[in-house]
Amino acid sequence: MSTGFSPGTAPPADVRAEMLLGAQSLATPAPPSQARGITSDLSVDEALLLHAAGWEPLDLVCGVAVVSVPVGVWNWGRGAISLASDAHDQAVDQAAAQLRGECSKVHGHGVVGVRVEVSVRTHHVDVELVGTAVRPMEGQDPRGADAAQAMPFTSDLSARDFTLLQRAGWMPVGLAFGASFVYAPRRTAGTAMKQTRQNVELTNYTEAMYSARESAMEKMQRSALHAGGQGVVEVKVTEGPMSFARHAVGFTAWGTAVRLVAESHQFVQPQVVLPLDDAVVTFEAESLRSGGQGRGRKR
């Protein structure tokens, strides 16, 4: 069947030729292979970028940990809820260790594009990390192959950001996490009564939030230092009262700890461009997916 379309301008001949080459490769059955196929959750763009930067994907890797939170921890009290923070830290450490373990198994030097899912529940903290193990194509790693495989880096940076970071002379060293949970102090009965009819700041909550934030950020920075980083990029934060204990507020922060591996920062010197395209039509290969069903990468 023909579409009846004959585009006025000839399409790039090489693309058509390559499509034909590809079609021919499927015209005969592939010989049996025992090769362990590569798996990755990278998009085509990301895979190409990584390749351009001299890295290749190896395998989809995961790390999961569930750590218990003892009963009574969320009951009303004063100050920091250290047992909950400890559970969070333990879950994150365990999941990261598993992720690095899976990466080492496939001889990866690091994991990029790690998707971080942290769920703090009443009685347990669940952490899931999923990413793609990568390694340099020529085996060149500033840290040395053995050291890199022994302690692979983990990073929630996309392949694009990883490439750019590397170009600037930096490398990710690991995910840095910090979490703190703090009780919002009770107001006295008199204060609560007095404030009933007022538009007034609830300083107990504000102060609890500040307290949680300071503690979590400090932990995250300590975690970055522990991983050998000099700083943390792309820090994400979540904060607010816990859904199951409104008298407690939580603050979690995480990002990718980075270290300068070049002698000094390499200026990227981006080219300034003025796009002339109409931004009305955006390309979306998965636009047929209905809401909530989409499985495209969300970064």
């Binding site: 693309v15 058509r16 499509m19 362990r36 930067a53 998965e286």
Partner: protein, 318 residues
């Protein structure tokens, strides 16, 4: 489960046989498919990119399968694995791990035994529904003499609250201008379309099939898991936060199984753009059912990777 949506056992794309005999298409469908008007689910940019690539859309093809899940209660054929004392995996090579209570006999209610158990019958049922819908889509494409199906969308959804699941595939069947039909006449397929497909081809990766697998693990909690998941510190349990080993291992296992099942369908090819979805249903007393679905594009390298120049960073003024 090792059977993929393309029906392959991992050795080659053996889905060809059923796709060659589209005898069960409704009459109206045959009439519609015989029409000379093409249809496609592609957006205009995707459509343009498709033509540039030498692909001609022929029809929007679909496949459906509605599956009812069997009863899991007593007497059900799906009852296997419910006895705590059967132990061991449910089929050769499937995952099973047992846990023993450290307390000795306490009471009849005490959970002295625990098990993480792969549920191959759940995986097989899912693969049957998914694979049937996929085969039916390919069957329609084959009827059109299509070489491939691009922009595939699949959807797995519940039909009301009836314990029934609908599997739906949709894609645009295409022919390769001047290209040979694929081996066995089975169209290749991919979730990609438009520029992403073009870039994949330019990079030297030809789509082979969309692949997916579900892995399912049932957690039968033993006493320590029950206590930890409920925050209890009974019977000499730890007083502080503690790793829930059984559940953590089950979560890792279900993800590893999904990857293993998908890898069995790759037969040395590569999987690109994988997505992993996990649904954990907590039952009670630490018991859980964890399902993990892994999908992606199976691609075959048909030429060496061209060296790509490192893109130049730009700053947009818009």
């Amino acid at each position: 489960m090792t059977v993929g949506p393309d029906g392959s056992d991992g050795s080659e794309r053996s889905a060809g046989a059923p796709a060659q005999t589209p005898g069960d298409l409704p009459e109206a469908a045959v009439r519609r498919l015989e029409s000379t008007v093409f249809s496609s689910g592609l957006t205009v940019p995707d459509f343009a990119a498709c033509l540039d690539l030498g692909l001609e859309p022929v029809a929007l093809v679909q496949g459906f399968c509605v599956m009812q899940w069997g009863w899991y209660g007593q007497g059900s054929g799906y009852m296997r694995g419910l006895s705590p004392y059967t132990g061991g995996p449910q089929s050769a090579g499937s995952y099973s791990e047992t846990y023993r209570c450290p307390h000795g006999f306490v009471s009849n209610e005490h959970r002295s035994w625990g098990q993480n158990l792969e549920q191959p019958w759940v995986e097989a049922a899912w693969a049957q529904g998914y694979g049937s819908a996929y085969q039916r889509m390919l069957e329609e494409a084959t009827t059109h003499g299509a070489h491939g199906v691009i922009g595939v969308v699949d959807r797995v959804s519940s039909v009301a609250d009836t314990g029934t699941t609908e599997f739906h595939f949709l894609g645009t069947a295409v022919t390769v201008d001047g290209g040979p039909p694929p081996a066995g006449g089975v169209p290749w397929s991919t979730y990609l379309a438009g520029q992403r497909l073009t870039k994949s081809i330019e990079a030297g990766f030809m789509p082979v099939a969309v692949v997916a697998a579900l892995a399912s693990v049932r957690v039968w909690a033993y006493c320590m898991t029950e206590y930890l998941m409920e925050g209890s510190m009974s019977w000499g349990g730890p007083t502080g936060p503690h790793l829930v080993e059984q559940v953590s291992k089950a979560h890792m296992a279900v993800r590893q199984l999904a990857r293993k099942h998908v890898r069995q369908q790759l037969a040395g090819d590569e999987l690109h753009g994988a997505t992993i979805d996990v649904v954990a249903r907590e039952l009670s007393q630490g018991d859980e059912v964890i399902d993990c679905t892994l999908r992606g594009n199976r691609v075959r390298r048909f030429k060496d990777f061209d060296q790509v120049e490192l893109p130049r960073p730009t700053v947009r003024l818009a």
